[in-house]
C-alpha cells in the first residue's frame, strides 16, 4: 500500500476524482464518462466560440477546475501525466462547438500535441484553432527540430484570457490570437524541493539529497536542468524570477501578470512570502504588477516547490483578465 496517499486502485483515481468533481459541482459541471471529458452544465451563452483544453491528470485544479463561465467550456483529462486520447478531444470539441469554432489550448508536450492535432484533423467540419502554450524557460534549449519549451503555469492565463474573449463574443481567430499573445509573452521557471509520488507508489519520482534543490523542473515529476544548493527563499525566488524577466526583456515601465504557483504541497504561507519577494524584484527593475495569482493552480501531484510565471500585460489583456469568471478553482 502506498505511503501517505488516499487511494483505492491507483488506476481508478482519476475516474473517482472526476465523479467527485461532478458531484461537488452539481449544476455547474457535467462529467461525460465515455469518452471522458468535463463540460459546463450551466446556462452557457449560445453561439460563442468554444474554449477547450486538456492534458494529463495530476495537475489539478488544472484543467477541470477551470471549466465554467468565462474560462473553459470543457476540459479533457488523460490518465495521470498522460495525454488524453484524440477521440476524447474530438468528442469534447464536438460537444462545445456552436458553429463558431473551437480554440484548443494545448500545453507543449509530444503526446498532447499529437492527440490534439489528430483530434483537430478528425473533427472534420469544425473550425479549430490551436494555441500552443510553451512557457517553460528551463526547456528553452533551442535544439533544431526539438520538442521546444514545455507548457506549464502560463496555461492558466491563456485559458482565462481566451475564455473571457469568447464570452464577450469574439470570433475564433480573435480568441486564438489573444491566446497566442499571452502564450508568446509568458515565461516560467520552476524548482522542486521534494519530488512527487505517483499514485500507488511509495517512493518519490526522484531523490533529492538533503540541502539540494532541483532547479528547472517541469510538472511531471521529472528531474530539472540542474541541482542548486538549498538557500533562503528570497534567493531561490530570485533565481527563478531573474532569468524569466531577462528572457522577456522586461524594461522599466513594463507591466506584467505574475503567477506564483505551488507545485502541490508547498504551503500557501510560503507562496505568499515568495510573491512578496517577486514584487520586490520587479520593483527593483521598475516593472509593475498588473494582476497576480498566488496559489497552487498547476500542480505536479504532491511535489514540493513552486514556479514563477511572468507575462507581459497590456491594457486589453488586463481588461480581459478582469472579466468575471466562475469556475471551481477560479472565481471573481
Amino acid at each position: 500500500m502506498a505511503a501517505h496517499q488516499l487511494v483505492n486502485d491507483p488506476q481508478e483515481l482519476v475516474g473517482e476524482a472526476l465523479e467527485g468533481l461532478e458531484l461537488s459541482q452539481r449544476g455547474r459541471l457535467r462529467w461525460n464518462r465515455d469518452p471522458s471529458f468535463v463540460i459546463r452544465a450551466d446556462d452557457r451563452r449560445p453561439y460563442k466560440v468554444g474554449v477547450l483544453s486538456g492534458g494529463g491528470s495530476g495537475h489539478e485544479p488544472l484543467h477541470t477546475g477551470f471549466v465554467g463561465y468565462g474560462m473553459l467550456d470543457a476540459a479533457v483529462p488523460g490518465a495521470v501525466f498522460a495525454s488524453p486520447t484524440a477521440i476524447q478531444i474530438q468528442a469534447a470539441t464536438e460537444a462545445v462547438d456552436d458553429g463558431r469554432g473551437v480554440v484548443h489550448v494545448v500545453k507543449n508536450y509530444t503526446g498532447d500535441v499529437l492527440n490534439f492535432t489528430i483530434a483537430a484533423e478528425i473533427s472534420g467540419a469544425i473550425r479549430i484553432e490551436t494555441v500552443l502554450v510553451d512557457d517553460d524557460l528551463a526547456t528553452d534549449t533551442s535544439v533544431e527540430g526539438g520538442p521546444g519549451r514545455r507548457g506549464t503555469a502560463a496555461v492558466v492565463a491563456v485559458e482565462k484570457i481566451c475564455g473571457a474573449a469568447a464570452e464577450r463574443g469574439a470570433d475564433l481567430s480573435t480568441v486564438a490570437a489573444l491566446g497566442r499573445r499571452v502564450a508568446g509573452n509568458a515565461r516560467t521557471m520552476s524548482l522542486a524541493l521534494r519530488a512527487c509520488t505517483h499514485p500507488g507508489q511509495s517512493v518519490p519520482s526522484f531523490d533529492l539529497e538533503v540541502g539540494q534543490v532541483e532547479f528547472g523542473v517541469g510538472i511531471h515529476g521529472e528531474r530539472g536542468v540542474r541541482k542548486i544548493p538549498v538557500a533562503p527563499a528570497d534567493e531561490l525566488v530570485a533565481a527563478l524570477t531573474g532569468p524569466v524577466a531577462d528572457d522577456l526583456g522586461l524594461n522599466r515601465g513594463d507591466a506584467v501578470f505574475v503567477i506564483v504557483n505551488g507545485l502541490g504541497s508547498t504551503h500557501q504561507l510560503e507562496l505568499l512570502a515568495a510573491y512578496r519577494q517577486v514584487t520586490r524584484l520587479l520593483d527593483a527593475r521598475g516593472v509593475t504588477v498588473a494582476r497576480q495569482l498566488v496559489g497552487s493552480y498547476v500542480t505536479a501531484l504532491d511535489m514540493a516547490g513552486c514556479s514563477v510565471t511572468l507575462i507581459r500585460a497590456d491594457e486589453e489583456l488586463v481588461g480581459l483578465w478582469d472579466d468575471p469568471v466562475r469556475t471551481a478553482a477560479l472565481t471573481w
Partner: protein, 205 residues
C-alpha cells in the same frame, strides 16, 4: 478479379491481431531495448478493444480498418497508438463505400497513411520508426499498381518491403521517439513499431 472483399479484410485484420498477441513478449522486449517497454501492452490493449468493435458483416471494405483506427485513437497508449490510429484511418477512408480493396485502393491507403504518420510524427525514413516499414510498403504497392499486380500478390510484395524496412532499423541510431534517448544502445535489434507494420502486411495472406 481477386480484390479484397469486406470479409477478407476482416480476416486479414483478425490474423494481424492474433500475430501481435503471439508476439507481445518479443515486441515488448524490443521496446525495452530502445524505449520504455510498453509497446506490446499498448498494442494489445488497443487491439483487444478493436475486436469488440468488429461487425461480423462489415458494410464496406474500409469498415474493419475503421474499427481498428478508432480503437487505436481511443486508447492512445504512448506515441504509437495515435499514429497507428491515423495510419489505419487512411485505410478506412480508402475503402469507405467500396465493395472491395483493389491494388490501387491499397496503394492510395498506404501512400496517404505514411504521409499522415510522417506529418504527425515529423519523422523521415531512416529515423528508426514505424515509418521505415510503412514507406517501403507504400512504394511497393505503388509499383504494383504500375505493374497491374493483383491485390493479394501486391500485399505479399508490400510485406516483403515492410520486413526489409523493419530489419534495416537494426542498424539505425534513432533520431525520433524515445529510442533517440538511448542512441547506440538500441543497435542490433529492430524498431518495434516497424516490426508491427511488417506483421500487419504479412498477415494479409
Amino acid at each position: 478479379m481477386n480484390d479484397l472483399e469486406p470479409q477478407a479484410v476482416l480476416s486479414w485484420v483478425e490474423r494481424f491481431i492474433t500475430r501481435i498477441d503471439d508476439q507481445v513478449q518479443e515486441l515488448t522486449e524490443l521496446d525495452r531495448r530502445s524505449g520504455d517497454g510498453d509497446f506490446g501492452t499498448n498494442m494489445v490493449t488497443a487491439l483487444s478493444r478493436a475486436k469488440a468493435k468488429f461487425s461480423p458483416a462489415p458494410a464496406d471494405a474500409g469498415a474493419p480498418f475503421s474499427s481498428l483506427s478508432t480503437a487505436f485513437l481511443e486508447h492512445s497508449g504512448g506515441t504509437s497508438g495515435p499514429l497507428f490510429g491515423m495510419w489505419f484511418r487512411e485505410f478506412a477512408l480508402a475503402g469507405e463505400g467500396s465493395p472491395a480493396f483493389s491494388t490501387a485502393l491499397l496503394a492510395d491507403a498506404a501512400r496517404n497513411g505514411v504521409a499522415t504518420v510522417r506529418r504527425l510524427g515529423s519523422a523521415s525514413v531512416g529515423d528508426r520508426t514505424m515509418v521505415d516499414a510503412m514507406a517501403p510498403a507504400a512504394d511497393a504497392l505503388a509499383e504494383a499498381v504500375e505493374d497491374d499486380v493483383p491485390a493479394a500478390r501486391a500485399l505479399r510484395l508490400a510485406a516483403e518491403a515492410a520486413r526489409a524496412g523493419a530489419d534495416s532499423t537494426s542498424s539505425i541510431i534513432a533520431r525520433r521517439g524515445r529510442a533517440s534517448y538511448v542512441g547506440e544502445a538500441a543497435l542490433g535489434a529492430p524498431d518495434p513499431g516497424a516490426v508491427a507494420v511488417a506483421l500487419f502486411f504479412e498477415s494479409a495472406g
